[in-house]
């Protein structure tokens, strides 16, 4: 099996987690799945760079995070990924299946600065350790913990306000 096939096969069971991570980063279903498509394409294109002794999930999640950052840069909007009038679309995506509080939370997350959103997505949604997140983000562990603490404070304040 060549590296491309190995990566392709490894990606299949990862797809649900990749979509969850993308949803936490990008917010809207459509944006998130567009991000996932880019990640899959890049992962397959760069399959030769993956070393089988490295964890495929972390390798792919790093590609996802970088692709998301690229998207933010391309859009020239670093804070809000979607415009206010589009938030109704997101509400429509989710309203049927989700309690209002979760919708509030998802929107509060989407309003966080990218530095904060990505640590929340990696640690609290994906379940990475601080060390794993730090390695992926190429920052010290202390930076992850301080960003995470500030992100939590923002999200909790938001939820508290609406409760």
């Amino acid at each position: 099996m060549n590296s491309s096939d190995a990566v392709r096969e490894g990606l299949i069971p990862l797809l649900p987690r990749l979509r969850r991570l993308a949803r936490a980063l990008a917010g809207q279903v459509a944006d998130a799945d567009d991000l996932v498509q880019i990640v899959l394409e890049r992962s397959l294109a760069r399959a030769a760079q993956w070393r089988p002794d490295a964890a495929l999930d972390k390798w792919v999640f790093a590609i996802a995070r970088n692709a998301w950052r690229d998207e933010l840069r391309a859009r020239g909007r670093t804070q809000h990924l979607f415009a206010p009038e589009e938030s109704g679309e997101m509400a429509a995506d989710r309203a049927s299946a989700q309690p209002a509080q979760q919708l509030e939370l998802a929107m509060a997350l989407a309003a966080l600065p990218p530095d904060h959103r990505e640590v929340v997505a990696l640690v609290l949604v994906e379940g990475m350790s601080y060390g794993e997140a730090a390695e992926l983000l190429e920052v010290p562990v202390g930076t992850v913990t301080s960003r995470l603490a500030r992100a939590r404070a923002t999200l909790q304040a938001h939820l508290g306000k609406d409760a």
Binding site: R19, V29, I38
Partner: protein
């Protein structure tokens, strides 16, 4: 004792605190109600985030994503990605993304498209020289018919009044193409070939991009109701450049050759 700062408390909640640190908080929790409340809040937030995003794990992935992970032999049947779309020089992060944007249309949008069709038909009033009514149906006319007949998306013309986007075989066997009328009022739609001409099951106004920039839309950024109409009809995948050309040369009637379908990258 020292107050417990947010980062320490968070590390405790996240299982990142070393044993002595965790033991210290365990002990403090027994008699510190405020601390217990903070711990509970942090746990609640974590649980709520999981509750908000874990359901994604159980959602079926859109076909366009699963198709990318098919073995190559299967990809000739279900090619991975639209390939006829105009590709600019901006690389994957924008061009490819825009080209495939919002292909996954939630069911609600499908329902909405029915309502929007009525609006679109109203918008596209008879008398427009690009559309004609026949038997209660809208058909392409004039320059739109010409563009649908002749224009290849693989040979885009930025100055043409009609931009062609995707071409594909519909679930009913007809060949359908998306298009955008660039001149104001900008409109986008889907045209499906039949013996009577190109019928237009969906037409819609296009909102100009922010900042009043030049309208450059083609296959990318179609209105949701047009994308929903595509989604509802799409079987397999959109044509690549060879298939598109073969379909044109066959007068949009015959199934184009599948050769080259695997060369989507």
């Amino acid at each position: 004792m020292n107050p417990i700062d947010d980062e320490t408390l968070q590390a405790y909640v996240d299982g990142e605190l070393d044993k002595p640190g965790a033991a210290r908080i365990d002990a403090a929790l027994a008699h510190d109600a405020a601390l217990a409340r903070r711990v509970q809040q942090a746990r609640d937030l974590r649980a709520q985030l999981r509750a908000a995003f874990d359901p994604v794990l159980d959602e079926p992935a859109p076909a366009r994503l699963s198709a990318l992970l098919q073995p190559r032999s299967a990809q000739t049947e279900i090619p991975a990605a639209p390939s006829v779309l105009p590709v600019g020089g901006r690389g994957i992060s924008t061009t490819r993304r825009r080209a495939t944007r919002r292909w996954f249309v939630p069911g609600a949008a499908l329902a909405a498209s029915v309502a929007l069709l009525a609006v679109a038909l109203w918008w596209w009033q008879p008398g427009d020289d690009l559309v004609r009514m026949q038997g209660g149906q809208s058909f392409a006319a004039g320059a739109l018919t010409h563009a649908l007949d002749e224009t290849l998306a693989s040979e885009p013309d930025a100055h043409a009044p009609v931009a062609i986007g995707l071409s594909f075989r519909s679930t009913d066997g007809r060949i359908c193409r998306t298009f955008v009328l660039r001149s104001p009022p900008a409109r986008a739609g889907l045209a499906c070939h039949s013996d009577a001409g190109w019928s237009l099951p969906v037409l819609s106004a296009v909102t100009p991009p922010e900042g009043g920039g030049e309208l450059r839309r083609a296959a990318s950024d179609l209105p949701p109701e047009v994308q929903a109409a595509v989604d509802a009809r799409l079987r397999g995948n959109v044509f690549d450049a060879q298939q598109e050309r073969a379909a044109r040369d066959a007068g949009w009637r015959q199934l184009p050759s599948r050769r080259g379908a695997g060369k989507t990258r």
